[in-house]
Point group: C2
Chain length 220, copies 2
């Protein structure tokens, strides 16, 4: 997890948009589109073109007036930033309905993102295979995570179990967790937790729909 001075100079808000930019640029490239103007890209991804121009300016003089941005070059830059050639070995903890769905899908459109291990506390399902990955006992997490070279964890466990599981993950030295339990957890400073809270997303959507109908809202 070497820090990179060049990346550190990128504002957080810009950094957050890089994966989205990257995905759309790949789609363009695959469709044979090698140049794109910021206003066209803006329409496609629904981010203001001024934001795109400002974001892209952090990566050097990439756009030229009347010409637009060079798609393959941007892909190269963002690919390096996102490290997409390097396999990310992911463990999933909590093989309930949602966990199973994620294992079956397994980020299949992204060859470098792989759920290679799964864990649960329920002895009834330990040993079962989902999408060729065997469910293992959560008690063996640290040992298996080390052996498998796990760097990232997806947690799909009930809220009331989340802190205990998180403590186990942290103890194993893993510092990146995608957590589907909305309750905020205590973690050391060096551990990144990304919370996915589907209920709050839904409530926010409905709230916007009922109150801001017809107005542009940037909820991204």
């Amino acid at each position: 997890m070497e820090s990179n001075k060049k990346d550190k100079a990128i504002p957080k808000a810009t950094a957050k948009r890089i994966p989205l930019y990257f995905r759309y640029l790949k789609t363009l490239d695959q469709s044979g589109i090698k140049r794109i103007k910021s206003n066209e890209f803006s329409q496609m991804i629904q981010i203001p073109s001024a934001t795109i121009r400002r974001d892209f300016s952090h990566f050097g003089e990439l756009g030229r007036s009347g010409y637009g941005y060079d798609v393959p070059y941007l892909i190269e830059v963002f690919s390096e930033i996102l490290n997409t050639d390097i396999e990310k070995r992911i463990a999933l903890i909590g093989v309930g309905n949602l966990g199973r769905a994620l294992m079956k899908n397994n980020f299949r459109r992204n060859a470098n993102l792989n759920i290679v291990a799964a864990f649960d506390a329920n002895a009834m399902i330990v040993g079962e295979k989902v999408n060729d990955v065997e469910i293992q006992d959560i008690e063996n997490f640290e040992e298996v995570a080390r052996k498998e070279g796990i760097t990232t964890v997806i947690m799909t466990v009930p809220s009331d179990k989340a802190q205990r599981v998180m403590d186990k993950v942290v103890a194993s030295g893993i510092t990146a967790v995608l957590n589907f339990a909305p309750k905020r957890l205590k973690v050391p400073h060096n551990v990144q937790v990304q919370y996915i809270d589907l209920t709050t997303e839904l409530q926010t959507l409905i709230y916007y729909d009922e109150n801001y109908n017809g107005q542009d809202i940037d909820v991204s």
Copy 2:
């Protein structure tokens, strides 16, 4: 979908945090905690206390120095804003792995959020019941949506089918869609689409972990 002048005065960034505030205040209230200071609340939900104070100031003079905020009062205010007494009747389109998982969970911790109808294009699964909800033919969407009083749609369909399904949803007059396909879709101005893109969330997390390790990053 009546607009509310008072709500319109709330900044978008504040509006987006209301569902999160609401959830934590309910938890506090259920634990018997009736007052909370902004710095305590800040620690709990991991949002800066200055942001909380600024947000809450939009709802009138709710906090008093040395006393903190009145939890039941805030719950009342946010509950009214979020309309949580009123049932939201939700249709899910695309009963694959993820769709099935969402149907089985059905936002069970939120009594007012109910998936009451499900649709798919696959004749093999039409008629099957998941969590007591029968899967219906997507061709009948408009008719069923009207009969069932659907106001919100969750789309868990493959990316290449998303625009066609969205057009059907829009044609039926529904204006709120939670979409799990990351590709941005064309919708009229009055339709709110909230995109949930798990791959981008995961890539963003890994990117932060590898580049900003040990620094505080607000990725919410």
